[in-house]
Symmetry: C2
């Protein structure tokens, strides 16, 4: 599927995903919701809390994708270094953001807005705030980079605030059919022929292994819903020709 839509890249920043301590929950959420906005996610990188890695990665991907989203590393502790690394990537000072500072200062009792918390109100010069309903500490945007929290429910709240402000293309449409007992090796040839007739779609084949039976889910995705519908009709006929029973939609979990 050629990219006519704007594209997105996600940077998951944090040692905890790379060490296996944390099961990432942000990739799938953002993949799904960005797809609904017509901004397909085209790459994810999970990187550690290492300044040079963050700076180089941000600069590589912001030149390549329409939107870059980051999650993680914007809290108050020594390992939360995303914000200063983004400033370094953009070559701008990292300084108190007046609005974030005022909001956060007001939310703590006198004396409790300490140096660690002040770091959360310190941002690259020129950043705009990304609000959320759960915490007073905001994310921020600079250029095409959107910096969000790593805690899933805070990230989701930030994304809900952000989503109406993003410029998407046509929503990515998805149609699917599946068949129990159909090996991929039997359907592959016919499927490739259908894919060749629909260059504007991604036609995917996903084997599944379930107590109710193994089989394959065949999925057409693209901005043109009618094309996805037509391709899946052809896949359905292909399944029938292989003496299996096509079942519309995704397999039930």
């Amino acid at each position: 599927m050629p990219d006519t839509n704007p594209t997105a890249c996600l940077l998951v920043i944090g040692n905890e995903v790379l060490s296996g301590r944390t099961q990432d929950a942000n990739i799938r959420f953002l993949a799904t919701h960005l797809g609904e906005l017509g901004i397909p996610l085209r790459e994810v990188r999970v990187i550690p809390d290492v300044p040079q890695t963050i700076i180089e990665t941000v600069n590589a991907v912001r030149a390549k994708f329409t939107y870059v989203f980051t999650t993680g590393g914007i809290g108050p502790t020594h390992d939360d270094i995303t914000s200063e690394c983004i400033a370094a990537a953009f070559g701008v000072p990292w300084e108190p953001h007046p609005e974030a500072w005022a909001r956060m200062e007001a939310s703590y009792r006198p004396g409790e807005f300490n140096a660690a918390r002040q770091r959360m109100a310190t941002m690259p010069r020129g950043a705009s705030l990304i609000d959320n309903a759960l915490s007073v500490a905001p994310g921020f945007q600079i250029g095409n980079v959107y910096v969000m929290a790593g805690v899933p429910r805070v990230m989701q709240s930030m994304f809900a605030w952000l989503a109406p402000k993003l410029q998407g293309g046509p929503k990515i449409q998805s149609r699917a059919v599946h068949a129990i007992g159909l090996p991929e090796g039997l359907v592959a040839e016919g499927l490739a022929a259908i894919q060749a007739r629909y260059p504007g779609l991604d036609l995917g084949s996903y084997p599944f292994y379930r107590p109710t039976g193994n089989g394959v889910a065949l999925v057409a995705k693209g901005p043109d819903g009618a094309a996805a519908e037509a391709a899946i009709a052809e896949v359905t006929a292909l399944i029938t020709s292989l003496n299996r029973t096509p079942i519309q939609g995704e397999p039930a979990d």
Copy 2:
């Protein structure tokens, strides 16, 4: 934590993770098991089934990390293009692998080892097979790149076969303490001072939000278990000094 151990990068290859259709289950498994082998996972990239992207990414990361693992894209369908892309990345022919071919041919009834299935026995010249207990189709290794299936239980079976053959460093040790009702903003300053005294460790701070109470988990990781132990003892004293009760280990789920 400076890298004295060998390092790993994981490439998750497949549109299905980027579209949100599939919740990735391979990152955490490999992160955990590679850590136990003393081969810390230092980067993950999730990339689509696009030849140029796969080829460029493989060449970028194989130059940078000791080990590169890939998951996904080695089945029989048109979107399974990992194998030929790895051949292109290494600049070697993509050709029938005699042993894989013989094994697979023998496992099908006459006439059923069709062109699609033959693709799964076609590999970069010079590849060594990676076996698994679940399917006759093998993964393979070429140079420092290890190509595995995307289906988690097949990948895990391949990794079990592979693990004893990998050269790791000292196992990454992990010690943790947590405290209910302790905001990160209070513990941050003391924590940074402890991190500064243990440059060979990664000291991480991970807030949690649970029905039993919010708090923070503080985790020390590194090849030196005694250092991790000592650092967590200091963190424990820090928690006590902040009038919270330290609880050894990770918070219960």
